[in-house]
């Protein structure tokens, strides 16, 4: 992780450049599609921090994604907030607090129990929103006004503009990537890696491992909240299905498919899986078989995900996420 292989770095930069110029050529639909993919990529990055680096396999990560959407909808409906400067921090705070609570309980367990307890919390949130009339029940809520950036009442950027939304999302993606990378390179990141490899040893060395895991869980939850904020704002819709275990499973698929513990892999995974779904679902009604078979094939044949393909091409061995 310390240094990206040059080939990968080059590919990433080319990809970033392509994304930057994309709006100049793309039709509106593709603009929105890529925006959606970038939102998924942010979610995948946050999950990779948790799964790939801290070794905490969460099967309920979509809970924070969906919660962010609901928080945005409620802030707008009940508090009339539309400014990005006010809603985004508030939404992130809500997700952070939720992750703190869920994490505080969850990090006491590990392995499959961690998988299951995160699922349990996500299901609880799912049912909470599904059953509550105040939040629109199973039909969900609308976010009617897109967030705007204003200075002294003068509107600088409105996310109503799809191109502006695209660039804000791209910015959020790049920022998420850099922030997580920064965290991984920091002293904190080294502790997280050590905990993943051998938690009792890290504890015996003097680290209050639970605090570090909890901090990591909260960071990942807030980043998922960032993705959820953008995801809900993009189409202006939020409903319980955004928190369902299918969504959490899908996010895991994206991370593993892309290559967990590589950070850029999950971003690739988001692009590959979404585009594959777009393509195959148009070819056949039985497209879920194809996706299922694809997932199985990746698990069996390419356990390191797409990223391992890139890195293996270059080095002939799997990349080791070292602190």
């Amino acid at each position: 992780m310390t240094v990206l292989p040059r080939l990968v770095l080059l590919l990433l930069l080319i990809g970033l450049a392509a994304l930057v110029v994309f709006p100049f050529f793309a039709e509106r639909f593709y603009l929105q599609l890529v925006t959606k993919i970038m939102v998924t990529a942010i979610l995948a990055i946050s999950l990779d921090l948790l799964v790939g680096y801290a070794g905490m396999v969460s099967f309920g990560h979509a809970a924070f994604f969906g919660l962010a959407g609901y928080a945005l909808a409620v802030l707008q409906r009940d508090f009339g907030l539309v400014l990005l400067w006010t809603t985004l921090p508030a939404v992130l705070a809500v997700c952070g607090v939720a992750a703190l609570i869920v994490g505080w309980f969850s990090i006491r367990t590990s392995g499959i129990y961690f998988i299951m307890i995160t699922l349990a919390f996500a299901q609880m949130l799912y049912y909470y929103f599904n059953d509550s009339r105040a939040f629109g029940g199973s039909d969900g809520m609308f976010i009617d006004t897109k967030p705007t950036i204003e200075i002294f009442g003068f509107e600088l950027v409105s996310l109503r503009n799809r191109i502006a939304f695209y660039y804000v999302t791209l910015g959020a993606l790049v920022a998420s990537y850099l922030i997580v990378r920064m965290i991984l390179l920091s002293p904190f990141g080294r502790v997280i890696a050590a905990i993943r490899i051998n938690e009792p040893r890290a504890r015996a060395l003097g680290y209050a491992t639970r605090n570090y895991k909890l901090a990591c869980f909260v960071i990942a939850g807030m980043l998922a909240g960032l993705a959820g904020y953008l995801g809900a704002a993009q189409y202006g819709v939020i409903n319980p299905a955004f928190l369902s275990w299918h969504q959490s499973g899908q996010a895991l698929v994206v991370v593993i498919l892309g290559g967990m513990g590589t950070l850029f892999g999950p971003v690739l995974g988001a692009f590959v899986l979404t585009l594959l779904e777009e393509f195959v679902s148009g070819l056949t009604e039985r497209w879920l078989v194809v996706i299922g078979a694809f997932v199985i094939a990746v698990v069996l044949l390419l356990p390191g995900g797409i990223a391992s393909l890139l890195v293996r091409l270059r080095f002939g061995r799997r990349m080791q996420p070292a602190p």
């Binding site: 050529f25 793309a26 039709e27 509106r28 639909f29 593709y30 929105q32 599609l33 959606k36 049912y127 599904n130 059953d131 009339r133 629109g136 029940g137 199973s138 039909d139 969900g140 609308f142 993009q234 189409y235 202006g236 819709v237 409903n239 319980p240 299905a241 955004f242 369902s244 299918h246 969504q247 777009e278 393509f279 679902s281 148009g282 070819l283 056949t284 009604e285 039985r286 497209w287 879920l288």
Partner: protein, 400 residues
């Protein structure tokens, strides 16, 4: 059948994107400009996988049947069906709608089955202006708060299917009832409509039971119903849940002592699976398979011939969707550019449907007869009209 999968269009679109990138962008205006033969794009957003796949197929096939019966054209133009699998997943609804409306630039949009999907879909087409026909989802809001000039519905509002049952049950002397449904929006709307007419006329709902969706373990609540001893039970479930509820209800011995009423979906498309347990259940719905009118007979035969399946209420809704689109397009002779005229024609349509003639309310929801049906010998037999030409109150709809 001129069904086209979305991929061809997608691929073409990629090429088009590439062409645009090369600086050779060719802007193609409305297909109409090229000539009468240009295809009309009809977007279909329905579930083709998962729990609701059967509904999706019946709606689609019947809609195509209606259009094919009239020569396979809309206003003289051939039709290109662009189908997207909604998976009945509300979290994908917005993106899927977007794919059809923005990506495929369809002229018309129809679907979906799931109310949550319908809400997301309505939100987008309100902004985009695509003429949309909701062919199943009953969420009240679609033709209330969310109503718009370009949103039509050929199915029903949840309110409509249950509202007539209140007076009917009182007429039969059931004053104390228990209601039971899944705890989700459609269930709450249905029970709410029933409560509205039942309580207003002097009935008492002893208890409103809500089962977590899609939980199908009813035993505990059946025991409670047995101990509450109401005069009758009013319920709404659909699909697998409806089958299980009706069977459990009978198996618990409640059927003989406490009559079961419900929204028509309780016994529609589920009777073969429910068997004898469903005998005697009285429901209200805007259709019944055995409805005795020539249009229905003809439709059912044609559908059977075309698909080798029996038609049901969903197929009828699909069929009427096709009819409504034809009506609108015939009025403008296929000129999809004349949106206003198309919508006006659709709004003023009187459809001679298998369910009987119906018109559209100001909110563009059917004004239709709601039938009273009773299960006899494994069939929903129409025993009367519970409410003649019932219109949804359309509260909150601003369409004049």
């Amino acid at each position: 059948m001129p069904i086209k999968s979305i991929s061809a269009a997608t691929r073409r679109r990629f090429l088009k994107g590439a062409a645009a990138a090369a600086g050779a962008a060719v802007f193609i205006p409305a297909p109409f400009a090229i000539g009468q033969a240009a295809k009309v794009k009809l977007g279909v957003l329905l579930p083709y996988s998962g729990t609701y796949a059967a509904l999706g197929h019946n709606i689609t096939d019947a809609m195509i049947l209606a259009i094919n019966e009239a020569g396979g054209t809309l206003g003289g133009r051939p039709v290109e069906y662009v189908k997207v699998d909604s998976e009945a997943d509300p979290s994908k609804a917005a993106a899927n709608t977007n794919k059809l409306v923005v990506g495929e630039k369809v002229d018309f949009l129809t679907g979906p089955v799931h109310s949550g999907v319908a809400m997301a879909m309505a939100k987008i087409v309100r902004e985009e202006g695509t003429i949309t026909v909701v062919s199943n989802a009953g969420a009240d809001a679609v033709t209330r708060e969310m109503c718009a000039a370009n949103i039509f519905r050929t199915s029903f509002s949840n309110w409509q299917t249950c509202f007539p049952m209140g007076p009917e049950m009182l007429k039969r002397g059931h004053k104390r009832v228990v209601s039971i449904t899944w705890n989700y929006a459609a269930g709450q709307e249905m029970i709410g409509a029933f409560r509205e007419s039942f309580a207003a006329n002097g009935g008492t709902i002893v208890k409103e039971m809500l089962v977590p969706f899609p939980n199908v373990e009813f035993q505990a609540l059946l025991t409670e119903i047995a101990s509450l001893k109401p005069d009758a039970v009013f319920s709404f479930f659909a699909g697998g849940g409806a089958v299980k509820f009706v069977k459990d209800y009978a198996a618990a011995g409640l059927k003989t002592s406490i009559p079961l009423f419900g929204s028509g979906f309780l016994t529609d498309g589920t009777l073969p699976a429910q068997g004898a347990a469903a005998e005697g259940i009285v429901t209200t719905l805007h259709y019944a398979d055995s409805l005795d009118n020539p249009v229905n007979k003809k439709f059912r035969e044609a559908f059977k011939k075309a698909t080798n399946r029996d038609a049901d209420v969903y197929a009828v809704q699909g069929y009427d969707t096709g009819k409504l689109l034809m009506h609108g397009m015939t009025a403008v002779k296929g000129d999809t550019g004349a949106k206003k005229e198309i919508m006006a024609a659709m709004r003023g349509a009187t459809l001679d449907s298998p369910r009987g003639k119906f018109t559209f309310s100001k909110a563009q929801n059917p004004v239709q007869d709601i039938y009273l049906r009773e299960v006899k010998n494994g069939d929903n037999v129409v025993i009367g009209v519970a409410h003649k030409a019932l219109a949804d109150p359309a509260r909150g709809c601003t369409l004049a």
